[in-house]
Symmetry: C2
Subunit: 242 residues, 2 copies
């Protein structure tokens, strides 16, 4: 896993920015540094794959990268085996993970990224599936995947689109923090990094740094949650859940 290269975005959207724009510099640096010219895009979290591909192509082409949609390739496993970089976009995490299992991509992507160092980018659902499991997704369980275990590119969980409770809310549904705390009550759970929209995690081997604009909140079992700031080294997360 010393070759691992990950860029895990909380979301594709940040208020006030175009699609992916808030992360343009991080994405460009990440792909350029790894000498990537073409990104293999996985649109399975959204129903209309072609429309999604077009949406992602627009900014990436503008920044000098070509994009291929995995749904247009004859054999998705072969496509992963040849990919220079993999980007899994957001949408519904359950639909996405089920599609990854159905197309035998879980093992293929894991091997390429962890053993062969192929750069992996994820946004929202694409970040959820990069972690230990999808146990901390915000999405509705619209389909039943064969497991909640995910790509395990990192051994901890991420909650994307993390949002603080609205102090004046009259809504009685659980807050995001309540929900993450419920997860931590379960015996198989581990640490959860709540990434606010606009935040991203950059991983190189066993080093992880929080980047972007907005920071994160870290939830460790039996401890009070801790605020994390942009620029913070969070490499110790690899020890927590190993």
């Amino acid at each position: 896993m010393a070759k691992r290269q990950l860029l895990l975005l909380s979301s594709s959207q940040l208020h006030g920015y175009e699609f992916l724009e808030f992360a343009s510099r991080d994405i460009t640096d990440f792909l350029s540094k790894n000498k990537v010219s073409t990104v293999l895009f996985v649109p399975f979290a959204i129903k209309d794959h072609n429309a999604y591909l077009k949406k992602v192509e627009k900014p990436l082409n503008q920044w000098g990268f070509k994009v291929e949609g995995i749904h247009n390739q004859e054999n998705p496993v072969d496509a992963v085996e040849k990919a220079e970089a993999i980007f899994i976009g957001g949408g519904n995490t359950f639909r996405l993970l089920k599609a990854l299992y159905d197309t035998k991509l879980v093992t293929a992507i894991r091997t390429r990224v962890l053993e062969e160092g192929v750069p992996y980018m994820g946004a929202s659902a694409g970040t959820n599936v990069a972690t230990r499991s999808i146990n901390t997704t915000n999405d509705m369980p619209i389909v039943y995947p064969p497991s909640f275990e995910a790509l395990k590119l990192v051994p901890f969980n991420i909650n994307p689109h993390y949002i603080d409770a609205e102090p004046n809310s009259k809504h009685k549904g659980e807050t995001r923090e309540d929900r993450i705390r419920q997860y931590l009550e379960e015996k198989d759970s581990c640490t959860v990094l709540g990434l606010r929209e606009g935040a991203l995690l950059h991983v190189e081997g066993y080093n992880a740094v929080l980047k972007g604009f907005t920071g994160a909140k870290l939830f460790v079992r039996d401890q009070e949650p801790v605020e994390m700031k942009i620029g913070e080294d969070v490499s110790y997360l690899f020890k927590d859940c190993a």
Copy 2:
């Protein structure tokens, strides 16, 4: 199913009311009409079963009903077979449904309610599990149940705690309506009744009426969502997904 008696609450809490208080009259009428003196309470959606039992006992005792916790019974299936009425409380829907499968209660409750006419009350997660499936829960998937199929006391889906999009929100996560629309894109989906906090569905046999304070929004595949008002007869829902 002609004997079916259900009271399905969107939530246990409504802003400005004590726990279950907003539905006190509906609950009292429902239980009295069915000559119930003791309610069998299923607290599996919350980790601390005894604390949850106490919380529920307080209002129900005050209104003249005894409450037994199923977690205190030697054999949960026997307890269901003897129950005068069943109440499944809210919490985490995944944890609840997994516990219902683990304790063999899915078939036991379904048989008692649909074939023997035992009154069933649910709130939030307890309403989710009463429907066709848990595909439209808002909860985090903190554990992996053996299926998303639920008690099927009604053939359609409910989204409890339904909430309209906040027009000025800067958050980019999907709205509740976006999430329900994603579900309706899936081939096995059916109609979803989005019950606002404070709303409840009263079912007698094949008759269903919307009660409570706040109304609901109905999502039918390939149609625009429709507002439903308190007092509306929604019995046609039984035909939609039969």
